[in-house]
Amino acid sequence: MLTVLLILLPLALSLITFMIKDEGAVKKFALAGSLAEFAVAVAAFVQYKTSCHCTLLFHADWFSSMGISLRFGLDGIGLLLVAMTTFLVPVIILSTFSHSYKLPSSFYGLILLMEMALVGVFASFDGMMFYIFWELALIPAWFICALWGGNDRIRITFKFFIFTFTGSLFMLVALIWVYLRTPAPHSFGFEWMLAAKLSPMEQSWIFAAFFLAFAIKIPIFPFHTWQPDTYAESPPAGSMLLAGIMLKMGLFGIIRWLIPICPQAVQQWAPGAMTLGVIGIVYASVIAIRQQDLKRLVAYSSIAHVGLIATGIFACSIYAMEGAVIQMVSHGINIVGLFIIIDAIERRTGTREIAKLGGIASKAPRLAIFFMIILLGSVALPLTNGFVGEFLLLLGIFEAHPIFAAVAGLTIILSAVYMLWMYQRVMLGKTNELTANITDLTWVEMATLIPLVVMIFWIGVYPSFFIETSLGDVLQILSLPINK
């Protein structure tokens, strides 16, 4: 039941939020509501850990004639992502407290609506429900970017929408196709879809359709060009939701649906997918080196990081797959942290242009410390969250294809290059007119960053807690190709 509550609660909260008029009240309510949602997720976590590590499953018939049912559940992987989502949403909401947006009730209502859709994606055990939530998440994301975004937002959000929506349609076709191949009476239920009889040729086509949808969402090179533009034009909270949580939908989709449904095609096409992933890592890292806009730099770094995760997933090794799960969570934490820092800088100086900044560390030491810690997480320094994920990912990729690991490992070097370059230009050196009177982090901003820093070190120092949660399910997914 907790699973259903996790989906319904944000929906209810969202509807109430839309009706609150006062800005202050709406902020407080949204924060309190998202914290309540997080509490439910913690309860689900505790229940999962203390019980038999079994999936918390809920089933109710819906369109039974069409084989669509309300099938929700949380296995270890979904649970970690739901926990991450519900953890990050309050952080993101709190980070907006320093802003004053027009139509506040709609803004926060949409955030909570999006939370519902995201949790729904991670908890769906029915193909059609997965698709519905997948598309549902796009709507609030689009509105948040289109209504509260930058100057070029209409053109960019249109591009973003067309891009991801095109991918989704391919996924819909693939889902229906698999549905038609399920044993009669047909069903979209997860187990039925796994039992679908697919010829190798069909598997390849389905792989292609799914891959396109997920590759655009993640995004994998060369389907990524919507992303830097969208991040740059979105309001900070929008970028955080997109980069921190929403793009995990694509990675999650590969693990939950793509690999189990067409394992043979995955084995056949994995080297190709890994090649794209590895190219993306190097390509995006190299481009990141010369970016002038903080958000675009982080966007390209994100393409590189998720490229590594995608490569690892297709390596089909327990280390890489588990590393991918851990790194999905870590990436969410780190990138939200980076966007919060960028937002804090932009609000104070009015710019995100790296060349115009400098010397902030001497005026705002707390900001400098938090920035440095989050940066270390994203360049994967040992004892931070980034290292655990990247170590496992690279180890797994190495096991499958040593050369891929060597090339993908360049991210270790290149991430240091662009991240330290950014830090140096923004934080170090002498102050200028823009940064001379910059103020340090406020207590509210500290409150948004401290939970992230705690998670960076928790995952970095004692990852076993998170690995144990999801390891069983990772092993199960990897054992599927053999059974089928």
Partner: protein, 634 residues
Amino acid sequence: MIAILILIPLLPLLGFLILGMGFRIIPRKITAIIAPCTILISFILTVFVFYNHICLPASPPYYIFPWIHLGPLKIDFAFLIDPLSILMMLIVTGVGFLIHVYSVGYMKDDPGFNRFFAYMNLFIFFMLILIMGASYPIMFIGWEGVGLCSYLLIGFWFKNHDYNNAAKKAFIMNRIGDLGFLLGMFLLYTTFNSLDYREIFAQAKVMTAGNTTLVAITLLLFVGAIGKSAQIPLYTWLPDAMAGPTPVSALIHAATMVTAGVYMIARSNILYMLSPLTMEVIGVTALVTALFAASIAIFQNDIKKILAYSTISQLGYMFVALSVGAFTGAMFHLATHAFFKALLFLGAGSVIHALGGEQNIRKMGGLRKTLPKTYWTFLIATLAIAGIPPLSGFFSKDEILAGVFESNTSVWIILVIVALMTAFYMFRLLYLTFFNSFRGTEEQRHHLHESPAIMTIPLMLLAILAAIGGLLNIPELFGGSSRLSGFLAPVFADAVAIQQRNTPLTYATEWILMGVTLSLVLIIIAWSYQKFVKQNKGLQPDDAPRPLAVKLIIQKYYIDEIYDMLISRPVLQLSKMLHDVVEVRLIDRAVNGLGTLVVWTGKTVRYVQTGNVGFYMFIMVIGIILILFFNILI
């Protein structure tokens, strides 16, 4: 016991946390107590561990808690306490403590006092983790952690962009090495199914020498060592790292961190012993590095840069020792080098302090009278590094030279040449700095002063160590008992057993070798005295006419410029090209083209929607016919 072992790295970490969190409110006096005291207690505990170990040698890895457990992969926080790690712990905490005390005086007026000591404590923590870890990943935590601290401390004065660039360069070059280390670990794991030292070494012991996988592993790990220990081709960060405060140069870039590569190879001695090819690669790399860096040092005029190139050269010495399997010799030289090189840097710091920041030795001179304590301690260190008996450097260098002579005479000759160059540039430095008359400004002369006791006492203590450090391992030749060799023997036992023993040198040969080297060194010292003190040479300005070869060396063989041309700029251009051409013109345009196509299709197909029902019916019928037709076909 385990509590003590945990406390040893934990205390510096606590120091870091306290100073880091309260860097704005903690008064300097408290910092000046907290920071050195945490290291002092760690040192005392290490001494305790050391005595305990002598009484009870066999100690299993001390397990603390699991780090990454995933199926067969089991990485624990566990410490391996054996003679090798104890030796390193003693050096790191002992020398580290003295440098902390010195820093209290040196950094007295710096606004970033607390931040400085927070970083220094963090460094000691990571260095101890590097040494004490019982597996490669734990070593890697320290390995990358010290790199971070090095980055933070090189760029300590972060308002200066050159310093920041130096810091960034150090971190990135280290990371290049770290990628090699990581890949080496992966190959270790896929080969041995473990990353724990003991399990790996136990399995490796029975493998045949020259095994390709072992060669690949050791080469990859050596790439890590190249980065961390500043060997060719990844050495250029170390001279630049002199941008950091001088105590940092002493602690991190001379005594401890840069020796991590030597420690790592000594730790993996079995793997390396079984990979003759790797040993040859190490030998050649290190020999070239030693010679190359020494040649640059001869023509440098920045007191810290000379010492930096000297460090690179001496590290090359240690790696040459490793490459011929003289592990004890390398570790012995590591220890004595930590003493005298830390002393040289601290002495240089004292000079720089007295001259208000001047680092050019051509603008010094005659400091012997005004800075007597600094002078005497510096002299001892110079004699030690030049290899004058009975100072520590003599014994450690002699052990390496003897070990090398056993296996390869031509390598020995090159090492002797390096030793002569070392004596030359060190005495050039000494003479130009401390002899003749002062060449600085009137204002500097007015302010010349000996450093306060808090700085000179560490100098004196290090001078004692630099002088008598040789006692650690007096060879039998001098009636000693090679204590250090005996102490470290269990660590290297397996490797030594594999090694094909050359016939040990006779005492007569050893005496001759030693006599030849020593007399040549003495001649060099006398000659440089003649040149720099009597004839007062070596003060030409940079643009004075010189032979082309000398100009080339003065410009450090243009290596930085070459790297810039071959790597940095192409990468930046590639970045621009990928973004402007591939990203914007190719991919994005293709995507937008697709969008335009969709809009165009929409506009065109729109005309089909006429609203005429008859037309729709007609299309429908055509459609049905087509479907039926295709069904028949299939």
